[in-house]
């Protein structure tokens, strides 16, 4: 067993390499989407008590030339590992891949992950399984992502691709050269708000976070802006006091930012402002009026009305709902659209 940081795993004796179909080992850049990472961490938490590490399949998108890989999704694959042998449930892997393809036809197999940063002979074996011809990622190299989840240490993610290495053909299956490749964590616009919400829980004891309303998130954003302004003005003050190192470029940048404030006539501002606020309030007012009207319309349609004559209910037992309508009109002004609809109802 090798130390955690070595990338080369050879099985002796060394012999002449006889590998003809060489998969490409071009360096590539890997981007990881946070949800794949989250999923790996979740899987790591759910491992069996006696398992050191768990593995799974990475799904994602590969660029045309194969130099960029985006890991978008992943799923866990059960495996057992002992000192002598490793067993990966290949049927499970195939079935899961098929199921995932039905939901996400665009995502292809790109590699596999393990939840320990250790690379050993079994890693090489699994790596070769994932990179093989047929079901594997051939001719592109399989990406191997390790996420260390050892307690008390930083969570560390590393990505590798592999190259076959010169050994005898019999031992080629369990040896390979892991080449570290750079990776970065990236997320899209849509995920930003979700991640921000999730990150909001990171400093809380119970690790939970209720959903914020619009106005609360606005408050948060404003607080953040204020904090940043504070930092900038602190810096500027320090420069003025000759405590911090000045930078003309930064000064210019700040000046430019300040001069972004448009020079417009106050009257124009006032007018535009009023127009817009009126728009907003009008829509809000209308929406609420409509809501009230619809509410009224619903109540009138279902309410058993006994206005004036006491026997209205008795009549309604036989004649369906006609008599109930009769009482409705005296109560309402018939204003707005909902009102009109209702007025028509009582025509009969």
């Amino acid at each position: 067993m090798a130390s955690a940081d070595s990338f080369l795993h050879l099985a002796r004796p060394l012999g002449p390499a006889q590998i003809t179909t060489q998969p490409s080992t071009a360096p590539l850049s890997v981007t990881v989407q946070p949800q794949a990472l989250f999923s790996i961490l979740d899987h790591s938490l759910r491992r069996n008590a006696d398992q050191e590490r768990v593995i799974g399949t990475l799904l994602g998108i590969r660029s045309e030339d194969g130099t960029e890989v985006e890991i978008r999704n992943c799923y866990a694959v059960p495996h057992t590992e002992t000192a002598e042998q490793v067993e990966v449930d290949m049927d499970y892997q195939k079935e899961m891949l098929r199921l995932h393809h039905r939901a996400n036809p665009k995502e292809v197999l790109v590699g596999w992950y393990a939840t320990s940063s250790e690379l050993n002979t079994f890693s090489a074996l699994i790596q070769n399984f994932y990179g093989q011809q047929g079901d594997g990622t051939f001719p592109h190299p399989a990406v191997h992502l390790t996420v260390s989840t050892a307690p008390g240490q930083d969570i560390e993610a590393r990505t590798y691709i592999s190259a076959p290495i010169g050994t005898t053909p019999e031992r080629a299956a369990d040896s390979c050269l892991f080449i570290p490749v750079p990776h970065e964590i990236k997320y899209g616009e849509a995920e930003k708000s979700g991640l921000e919400m999730i990150a909001g829980a990171k400093d809380r004891e119970d690790r939970t976070q209720p959903i914020l309303t619009d106005i609360e998130s606005l408050e948060r954003a404003i607080e953040q802006v204020l904090e940043m302004l504070e930092r900038v003005s602190n810096y500027v003050n320090n420069v003025l006091d000759e405590e911090a190192q000045p930078s003309s470029a930064l000064g210019q940048f700040l000046m430019n930012a300040l001069s972004l404030a448009p020079k417009v006539d106050p009257a124009n501002i006032e007018r535009d402002f009023n127009n817009h606020i009126q728009d907003v309030l009008a829509v809000s007012y209308l929406a609420n009026t409509i809501r009230t009207q619809i509410d009224l319309s619903n109540r009138l349609a279902t309410a058993a009305l006994t206005m004036g004559t006491g026997d209205a209910l008795g009549e309604s037992a036989k004649g369906g709902e006609q008599p109930q309508r009769g009482g409705g009109d005296s109560r309402r002004g018939g204003r707005g659209r909902g009102g009109r609809g209702d007025n028509r109802q009582r025509e009969e």
Binding site: S193, I198, A199, K202, R207, I215, V225, L250, G338, D342
Partner: protein, 366 residues
């Protein structure tokens, strides 16, 4: 014990961060078509913990006739489709092998501008809630509102009163009067919290990588600063989308949707009105027939003949069936949803606008 557990109603929903991310990814990928998927998790003392999710198979556009509308309906109806039920069972069976909570606790759907209260949603949730282990929820993720600032994720269940009514499938005026079901009672919203695992918390704490020990050197010129490629947005940098001042698109869309709802409401009212007119017509005919029969009978009695039966009209005349009020109910609930949405939006946007004004006109700030 089991009964006691069954009787405690669901009070809250706790969603794992992983599920939040999966739902966001799936729904933003398939936008504007609705994305639907299944949720798994477990129920702990009245709080439903949703720990994992998986999407339902995408509807293949090539097999359909490419019609946008039918594609959308198919996608929205996915949760209760037969093939997907099989898919779900298969997936859960596989997930069980890797120690994921193998219990279905509901489904999720994506929507745009809160436009989700329709027959599809109701039927899907009914499909899930009528099952014996009926502790299931519907998670609704609003894509367009989440992109404008804060995450918009809600959990809903059908109220027991609505469940009973829907099971009978009768939504006539009479049954509504009897049950007292109002449109406000169709859906019950459950409070929703997001929960992180310990590992995730630790990851979040170290994602913004530590600043380097020595302060970064200052850029030499302004051009270098503005064209510097390195400051890519670091993970978890603050998000200022909430400060966006674009008002018109939102108002426009909401107005469109509101008009649509009113239109639907109007159609329903017309249907009802038509029903009532024909009912009244039939009723008059019946009355006339009854009066005539009475007269005849009086004549026959006078002539010492046996009177004809008086309840024959039930065979001769057929009263029209009352149209279901379900659509009206759902539509009303939808309007309520829009109105609340506008209220929330107005609250935020007026604040922002006053802030902008006092910024531009400092002298006149109150």
């Amino acid at each position: 014990m089991a009964d006691a557990l069954r009787d405690t109603p669901l009070r809250a929903v706790q969603v794992e961060a992983l599920v939040v991310m999966k739902v966001i990814k799936h729904s933003s990928q398939s936008f504007p078509t609705a994305a639907t998927g299944s949720l798994v998790g477990m129920d702990v003392n009245g709080s439903l913990q949703i720990t994992n999710s998986f999407p339902f198979p995408a509807v293949d556009p090539s097999t359909q006739d490419g019609h946008q509308e039918s594609l959308h309906t198919l996608a929205a109806a996915a949760p209760r489709a037969k093939s997907n039920a099989a898919y779900q069972n298969e997936m859960i069976k596989f997930l069980r092998e890797v120690n994921v909570d193998a219990q279905n606790v509901g489904w999720y759907t994506s929507t745009s501008m809160g436009n989700f209260i329709n027959t599809n949603t109701i039927e899907n949730q009914f499909f899930y809630q009528k099952e014996p282990n009926e502790r299931t929820v519907a998670l609704v993720h609003d894509v367009s509102r989440s992109s404008a600032g804060s995450l918009n994720l809600k959990a809903f269940r059908l109220s027991p009163a609505f469940m009973a009514a829907f099971k009978e499938g009768k939504f006539t005026t009479e049954t509504l009067q009897k049950s007292g079901l109002r449109y406000q009672d169709i859906l019950v919203e459950l409070p929703l919290t997001i929960h992180n695992s310990h590992l995730l918390t630790s990851l979040l704490h170290q994602l913004p990588s530590e600043p380097s020990a020595e302060p970064p050197s200052f850029p030499p010129t302004l051009a270098a600063l503005t064209s510097d490629p390195t400051p890519t947005p670091a993970p978890l940098c603050p998000n200022f989308d909430a400060l966006e001042l674009s008002i018109d698109p939102f108002l426009e869309k909401t107005c469109d949707l509101l008009l649509e709802s009113i239109e639907a409401h109007h159609t329903e009212l017309n249907n009802h009105q038509y029903y009532q007119r024909s009912l009244a017509r039939e009723q008059t005919k019946i009355n006339a027939w009854q009066a005539k029969r009475k007269q005849d009978n009086a004549a026959r009695v006078a002539a010492k003949q046996t009177p004809l039966p008086e309840d024959e009209w039930q065979r001769l005349f057929k009263l029209p069936a009352e149209p279901s009020r379900l659509e009206t109910l759902l539509n009303s609930r939808q309007v309520e949803q829009y109105a609340r949405q506008v209220d929330g939006f107005t609250a935020g946007v007026t604040g922002k606008m006053f802030a902008v004004r006092s910024n531009l006109l400092p002298g006149e700030a109150p």
